[in-house]
Structure formats: C-alpha cells, structure tokens
C-alpha cells in the first residue's frame, strides 16, 4: 500500500512526536499482535507458523538428515521462498543471507553432533506466504519457534564410532525424540525503525515508508549481538525521508533491545507451552 504525500507527511509528524503516536495505538516497544502454531507438519522434525494481524504470514519447516560431519561445509541450510520474487532476486538473497549468517555463526553446532563421525544436518525451509513490512524479523521469530520445537530421534548406537563401519541407529519410538537442547535459545532478529529521536519496534508497512532509517539487531542469549544492520526497510516502495543514522541512536537501540527482547523471547516460549498443552486436541494449522 503506497501512501499519498499528505498521508506521509501526517504520519511522519505523528511519529516524530515524543512519545511517538503510532497507527494502531502501539507504544514504541510494542509488537504487532501475532498468532502462532507449532508442530503441524508430521513429515518434518519441527514446524511453526506465525501470522501477524495485517495478514503477513510465514511457515517454516525444519527437517534433519544424518550426514558424515567431515563431508559438510555447514550443518545448517536455510532456504527462503517468497512468492512473487525470484529465488535469485536481491530481496530474497538478502533475507536468506542474513538468516543463514546469523544461524551459522551463533548456532551451537555441538548440539547436532551425533557420534564422532556423524551429525544431524538441519534444513530450514521458510515460505513467506504473504508479507507487507520487511519480513526478516517475522521469519526469524518463526524460525525461533520451529527450532525450539524441533525434535530429533534418540541415538541408540555408540557415540564413539571411529572404529565402527555401520551408520548410527535410532530409537523407533518418536516419544523418545529429544529437543535440540533444553536450554537452547535460537538467535532472533528484531527490526527497529528510526524516526527523529524515536526508535520504533517492529515498524508496519505504513511506518516503513516514512522512516529515516531502519535497524536490524540480532539478539541471542539475553543480549544484543552482532550483526547490527542498518538499511532502508521500505524495499518495495520509495522512501524519500531516508537519511544517515545518528550513532547515539545505535547505542540507544542496543539498550532498548536488551531491555525488551527478553520479554519477546518469554512470550514466544509461552506460546510454545500453550501449544504443547493443546496439542492433543487440535492438530490443525488453522
């Protein structure tokens, strides 16, 4: 949805107020309401779906495969499919690169090691069914849920198989399958919009069009980590307000994220718990 010049000016003025007046009456650090569902794909080790109230939606599946550790350059492979965009378009490759990079550098690979020779390789496939604002944070929150609920079969053969020829064997009982690690918390991306002195969490499509800058912060293990990226979030519409970034705001954004992100993680964890409780009664996505 492209805003008219008058609408832009109005929205800009309301967003630079202190405190900002956001459409939808959100506060600076408030996310858009979302609904989520996990574990709905029986063929995958983990699956999750998040939908925002504006209709943006992302489905992620995590599938695993036993591989010889030495033969693999990376134990995580991410693929993103956005309908309407070619797989080799800038938009899709940027999303894919950001998410892959974050997961590969921060994923504790030792959790995937099975035996001295073999490991699990995870294939993380995202479908962005529809999106309006820049979907990176949506994708990363969904991948958080999917990875958190991924269950891998229990190894029944010897861990030390340096001398053994056979491939590892697993327990037949799916009830024995384990989560990747009980304390494992996948890293996530948070998008922040910069406008005047204000930093807005999770900007919507309308807000993106008047932002002066956009920040993408990564958050892992209770603190903000690198990469911290700044970019024009309005990738599919032009934004004439875009300008340089005040360095003070970067420090401020890190502090804000350190303050509010634990709550986001907690909310996601609560979602998973609720989903677990409902699991037996309702297995449908919708």
């Amino acid at each position: 949805m492209i805003l008219s010049p008058a609408e832009r000016a109005y929205l800009y003025e309301s967003l630079v107020q202190k405190p900002a007046i956001r459409p939808g009456a959100r506060s600076d650090h408030q996310f858009r309401p979302l609904e989520a569902k996990t574990g709905f794909l029986p063929n995958s080790n983990g699956s999750a779906r998040i939908r925002l109230n504006d209709g943006s939606e992302c489905i992620i599946s995590v599938k695993s495969k036993v591989v010889v550790t030495r033969g693999e350059s990376s134990l995580i492979e991410v693929d993103i499919d956005v309908p309407g965009f070619r797989d080799d378009s800038n938009f899709v490759s940027n999303l894919k690169f950001s998410l892959t990079n974050l997961l590969i550098t921060k994923f504790p690979v030792e959790y995937l090691r099975l035996t001295s020779k073999y490991s699990f390789k995870l294939f993380i496939d995202c479908i962005v069914i529809s999106h309006s604002s820049y979907p990176l944070s949506l994708i990363s929150l969904t991948s958080y849920l999917a990875l958190k609920t991924t269950r891998l079969p229990l190894l029944t053969s010897e861990v030390n198989d340096e001398e053994i020829e056979e491939q590892p064997t697993f327990s037949d009982d799916w009830d024995n399958a384990k989560y990747i690690h009980p304390t494992f918390q996948p890293p996530i991306f948070i998008t922040l919009g910069v406008i005047g002195e204000n930093l807005l969490f999770d900007p919507s499509i309308e807000e993106e069009q008047v932002l002066e800058n956009g920040l993408i912060l990564s958050f892992y293990k209770d603190k903000v980590i690198t990469p911290i990226i700044n970019m024009n979030l309005a990738t599919n519409s032009n934004n004439s307000n875009f300008k340089g970034l005040n360095q003070k705001l970067i420090i401020q954004s890190i502090n804000l994220c350190n303050k509010y992100c634990p709550a986001i993680i907690k909310a996601l964890d609560t979602l998973i718990e609720q989903d677990d409780e409902n699991d037996d009664t309702d297995n449908h996505i919708f």
Partner: protein
C-alpha cells in the same frame, strides 16, 4: 522396489481402508482473511494445501486484460519439505507447468469469467505436504478459495483420484498406492456427470474405464457435499456474527 500388498484378500488397503473409502477430508475456508480476497485450506489424508485468491482485480500487465472475460492465473509452489525426502523443486519443471496449466484451463471454464471482463483472478497455491492425490486436493482448494472470494462459479468443481488394482478400483489413493498403480484424477462440476478435469498417467485397461469412472464420480459428489458443508458452516458463522451486531 519391494512389492507391498496394496489390497489384501480380505479387502483392506495398506492404510486399513476398504476400496471405496475416502481419506479424512478436512477443509476450512477464509483462513487468511487479512491477506487475500479468498482463502482455503484442504487436508486430504496427509496432503495439505493452502490456497489464496486475489481478485478479480486490475491486471498489472495489459496482456492479461481480456475484454471478453477474466484471466485466471495460477501460481503453484510446492514446498521443498512437502515430501518425506526433502527435495527442492523448480517451478519450470514440466510436471509443475502441466499442473498449473491444467488448473488454469479448468477454472477458466468453471468460473463465470464473462462477468469480470478485463480483470485478473490470481490464485496462489502452497503445497505443505503431499501424500497422493495432489492435483485433486489443489483443485478442491481452489474451488473453496474462489467461493470464499465471492467469485461467481457455475458450481463446485470437486476432484478425486482413483486407481485400478487388478480389477478393483481403489478410491482416493495415498502416496504409496500412487507409486505402484495407475491413477486417474477427475474433476466434476456440481452433481452432474460432466468432467471438467481429467488426467490419467499410466496404463489402464479400456474395459475398466467405465466402472472406475463410475466410482470416481460418486466420490466427487461426496467431496462436493463435504465442501458444501464447510462453506455453509462458515456462512452461518458469519451471518450469526452479523446478527449480533
């Protein structure tokens, strides 16, 4: 390839069904109210399909504007995780293009296109899981999504796959059965015996065609009822909401 017993002498199939039993058919409409004009979700056994319809709307390119009627465009995306073994699929694969063209042409006839001249109806299909009867599930999902979008159609297009094992027709094949026996997919308009969609990919004796078609048509009428139930359930839900306000 190991030969599994697809149909036991007692008359049971690998998943425990009899020859004339359908798989669990679950459908929802209006699943994505905020992101498109019409949407649906269909589960036929373990095959899961999401369908979203945009339009009728102004086409982005002039070539899609037909003064005689609406243009129907189908975008098919089969998730790489939809099969048991993960496999990345290209959209230009011949099989994909064929299915896309088949769906486009089928619905071009079943939708009252002449009511929407110079418009585009764009249909996005996402296959999340596949276990046999893919074309049938997709066509059913498209029908429901078009109804949800309020696009005028002559009647439901209901689809089913049916196979022939020796002399016995087997209804609504699952993935394992589909690998081994020939599959006929048909789509029927409403409760008639008119075939809007027809596809047979492997050998089938000519003399069994009639009996196989017969059972398949009966099944599509059943599917039509199941879809109709869902549409009416949703309609009642909406009208009760309206009444409250």
């Amino acid at each position: 390839m190991s030969r599994m017993e697809l149909y036991s002498p007692e008359g049971l199939r690998i998943d425990g069904r009899r020859w004339n039993e359908l798989r669990r058919f679950e459908s929802r409409i209006n699943t994505h109210p905020n992101s498109c004009d019409g949407s649906s979700y269909v589960e036929q056994g373990n095959t899961k399909v999401i369908c979203m319809v945009q339009g009728p709307m102004e086409p982005s390119s002039r070539s899609q504007a037909d003064s005689a009627g609406a243009t129907i465009e189908v975008n098919l995306s089969v998730a790489s995780f939809s099969t048991f073994e993960r496999k990345k699929r290209s959209k230009s694969e011949k099989r994909m293009v064929e299915m896309k063209a088949t769906l486009e042409r089928t619905f071009q006839q079943s939708v009252m296109c002449h009511l929407y001249p110079r418009t585009l109806i764009s249909i996005d299909i996402h296959v999340l899981a596949q276990d046999g009867g893919l074309l049938a599930s997709m066509a059913n999902a498209v029908t429901l999504a078009l109804i949800d979008a309020g696009v005028a159609m002559y009647d439901y297009v209901s689809c089913i796959s049916v196979g022939l094992h020796d002399q016995t027709p087997l209804l609504d094949l699952n993935g394992l059965e589909e690998q081994d026996i020939s599959t006929l997919t048909i789509g029927v308009i409403g409760k008639t015996e008119k075939l809007a969609l027809l596809m047979l990919e492997d050998k089938m004796p000519l003399d069994h065609l009639e009996s196989t078609l017969g059972i398949a048509i009966a099944a599509t009428h059943r599917i039509r009822d199941l879809m109709d139930d869902e549409v009416r359930k949703h309609g009642n839900l909406r009208s009760s909401k309206l009444a409250k306000n």
